[in-house]
Amino acid sequence: MGNLLEIKNLHASVEGKAVLKGINLEVKAGEVHAIMGPNGSGKSTLSKVIAGHPGYEVTEGSILYEINFQMKDLLALSPDERAKEGVFLAFQYPVEIPGVSNFEFLRAAFNSVCKHHGTPEMDEPSFREFLRKKMEIVNMKEDFIERAVNTGFSGGEKKRNEILQMAVLSPRLAVLDETDSGLDIDALRVVADGVNRLRSKDNAIILITHYQRLLDYIAPDYVHVLAGGRIIETGDKTLALKLEERGYDWLLQN
């Protein structure tokens, strides 16, 4: 099987400051990649660049993404076009949208993707039914439907909402930016369980995390260490255990 995502020599900066300094990464459908690394290494920047945040400038390199069996220039697409093609970012800090209910937000997003692919949009009753089933995956309470997006949500609810959105949109490439941070062990289990249920041979997941504990629940195929804007080490899940035990220093000294 070919690659779903190919990142080549990616350099990116924020407000003129270079953060990514030559990232290379290939991801195939069906794979789960964990990206770990110390604070400020560029993990979140990488996720924002993949999703197309306008505040991040790509200064060199490319990101190719498979659309209709062809590798296309992902950077040429606007954020909403990327989403419609199946790229999803679970935000580290999900944004509050006051006055907009989760229901109308999720339905608008879902239908926008359907429209793009020429599949029928869902009316309110069928979407309500569809959403209920997805809500079970992350254990969301009924009243969630009418609440405003992320407004007044606890940290755990916000993170579960990200996974719910992922379940609704069924992306081909999901980037989870520190979805585990700030979660207690029960919430972590719910989130990890949700991710595992959405994992399939057709989609790929990039997990950005500080902690090995998430990887106890979601077993990655690869673990990468990002430091100073470059991937300095790649291994299997045992690398994460090693990092847990020894920290990052032994790698940085090389």
């Binding site: 954020p79 909403d80 989403a83 937000f105 926008s112």
Partner: protein
């Protein structure tokens, strides 16, 4: 049915109202003096006391000067260059009936989405159709009569209910109130009159549709609504005008009176022509709207969606006189291109335990200016008064401005007054969040704005609220790009 109802207040997604009706009219000569006022009064066949009232107002107006404190800019208006009365020519002298109307007028209102003919009219809402200076038809009168509800043009009410008109006209907005109120009292043409008797819940919504057609003509609407003890009425108002390069003046006065335990809900969707992309033309909407909660536990609420007019100067207010009375003001004001809006409310607490709520949402785009101006005044007598105000402004783009000018005067120490205000530029983080879920920029902006206005939209009757959302979306689509 809902789309019919929405058309009844001028809610539609494109400004397809910009057309002109070719019709024979009778007008008075250009300019303003006592003879013109006598002429207007006689054309309307008014009682002598009405003419006297107009002349007093006119003489007072001459002593006044135009207000200049609002945050709006425009060239001085030449009040001698306006035609103060224009009405479609009547065929006969007989009583007003649809048969007497020029078929062109019926076609005009049909095109605006408001069929007036008996067999076609919209169910569930009675419409008073005002064309330039006169009311041409009021539907559902028979049905309303069964409940004792009076809904007709104010010109008609002067003859049929002179005691009520005499008693209440000018009782809430006296002609001495302000420059435009005085002008309106002198030259007002038509508008609606509503009386809901004791204990009656008006069985259908009442609505007035104001249409400006003639050029160089001002429209001076006058509306008077009286809700007697324990009654309830839901009133809706819509307005449109042709697209023209010159500015036209609309100076209305609306007075509401609620007696003991009565409730009036007044909703406006203002969609006058705004002028073109360069700010040429459009309506000057200089309006005085005020309600008096005269009785104990009476309630008045104003809900307005202000999305039209080149300039808006409008402060729908409540005088909370009766003990335990409640006033509310819910407003969405959207300005785009070169529009200017200075709008807000006044809540005057006089009675004990009176309550008021103000929710104002201003959205500015393009080069527009959008000001919220509000007054909350607690008089010494208003023991236990409470007010809650929330005034939020949202800026879309970086060429527009938003100002919030709240005045608070508290003269009774038991009062509780809360004021919250925010001004924000539309947030890039929110936009990116929505975009990253597959919504394009336009859809994302529109979703954010609708969320921002939610607290006001939910005050509108359901179908109107759905259409108000569409109207705002359409306006944003044309102005954000």
């Amino acid at each position: 049915m809902s789309s019919d109802r929405n058309a009844a207040i001028g809610l539609d997604t494109n400004y397809k109202y910009g057309f002109v009706t070719e019709i024979e009219t009778e007008t008075v000569p250009r300019g303003l003096n006592e003879d013109i006022i006598r002429m207007i009064s006689s054309k309307k066949n008014e009682p002598e006391w009405m003419l006297e009232y107009r002349l007093k107002a006119y003489r007072h107006w001459l002593t006044m000067t135009e207000p200049t404190w609002a945050h709006v800019k425009y060239d001085p208006i030449d009040f001698q260059d306006i035609i103060y009365f224009s009405a479609p020519k009547k065929k006969g002298e007989g009583p007003k009936s649809l048969e007497d109307l020029d078929p062109e007028l019926l076609r005009t209102f049909e095109r605006l989405g408001i069929p007036l003919a008996e067999q076609k009219r919209i169910s569930g809402v009675a419409v008073d159709a005002v064309f330039d200076s006169v009311s041409i038809a009021t539907t559902h009168q028979e049905e309303l009569k069964k409940y004792g509800v009076v809904f007709c043009s104010i010109s008609e009410a002067m003859h049929t209910h002179p005691e009520l008109v005499k008693k209440y006209l000018g009782s809430v907005v006296p002609y001495t109130d302000n420059f435009y109120a005085a002008l309106n009292a002198a030259v007002f043409s038509d508008g609606s009159f509503v009386y809901v008797p004791k204990g009656v819940r008006c069985p259908i919504d009442l609505s007035t549709y104001f249409r400006i057609n003639a050029s160089e003509t001002g429209q001076f609407e006058r509306t008077l609504i009286i809700a007697d003890e324990g009654s309830f009425v839901n009133y809706l108002e819509g307005c449109t005008a042709p697209q023209r390069d010159e500015n036209q003046l609309h100076a209305a006065v609306v007075e509401l009176i609620a007696l003991d335990d009565a409730e009036i809900k007044y909703s406006t969707v203002q969609n006058w022509y705004t002028g073109d992309k360069e700010g040429k033309g459009g309506i000057y909407n200089f309006v005085t709207k005020r309600g008096k909660c005269q009785g104990r536990n009476s309630k008045i609420s104003w809900t307005q969606i202000e999305s039209g007019s080149a300039i808006t100067w409008k402060y729908p207010s409540c005088i909370l006189l009766g003990d335990g009375s409640q006033g509310a003001f819910y407003s969405v004001a959207l300005t785009h291109d070169y529009m200017q809006a200075d709008t807000g409310t006044k809540m005057i607490h006089i009675g004990k335990n009176t309550k008021s709520t103000i929710i104002s949402k201003g959205i500015s785009t393009g080069y527009s200016r959008n000001t919220y101006r509000g007054l909350v005044k607690i008089m010494p007598s208003a023991t236990g008064a409470r007010n809650y105000s929330q005034c939020d402004s949202m800026l879309v783009g970086d060429k527009c401005t938003a100002d919030t000018v709240p005045y608070i005067e508290v003269k009774n120490e038991t009062a509780v007054v809360e004021h919250e205000a925010t001004t924000s530029r539309i947030s890039e983080d929110q936009l990116f969040y929505l975009e990253s879920r597959g919504l394009d920029r336009e859809a994302a902006i529109s979703m954010l704005v609708n969320g921002f206005c939610k607290d006001v939209f939910k005050q509108l009757p359901l179908e109107f609220s759905v259409e108000a959302v569409k109207l705002i979306e359409m306006k944003l689509e044309n102005s954000v790009g």
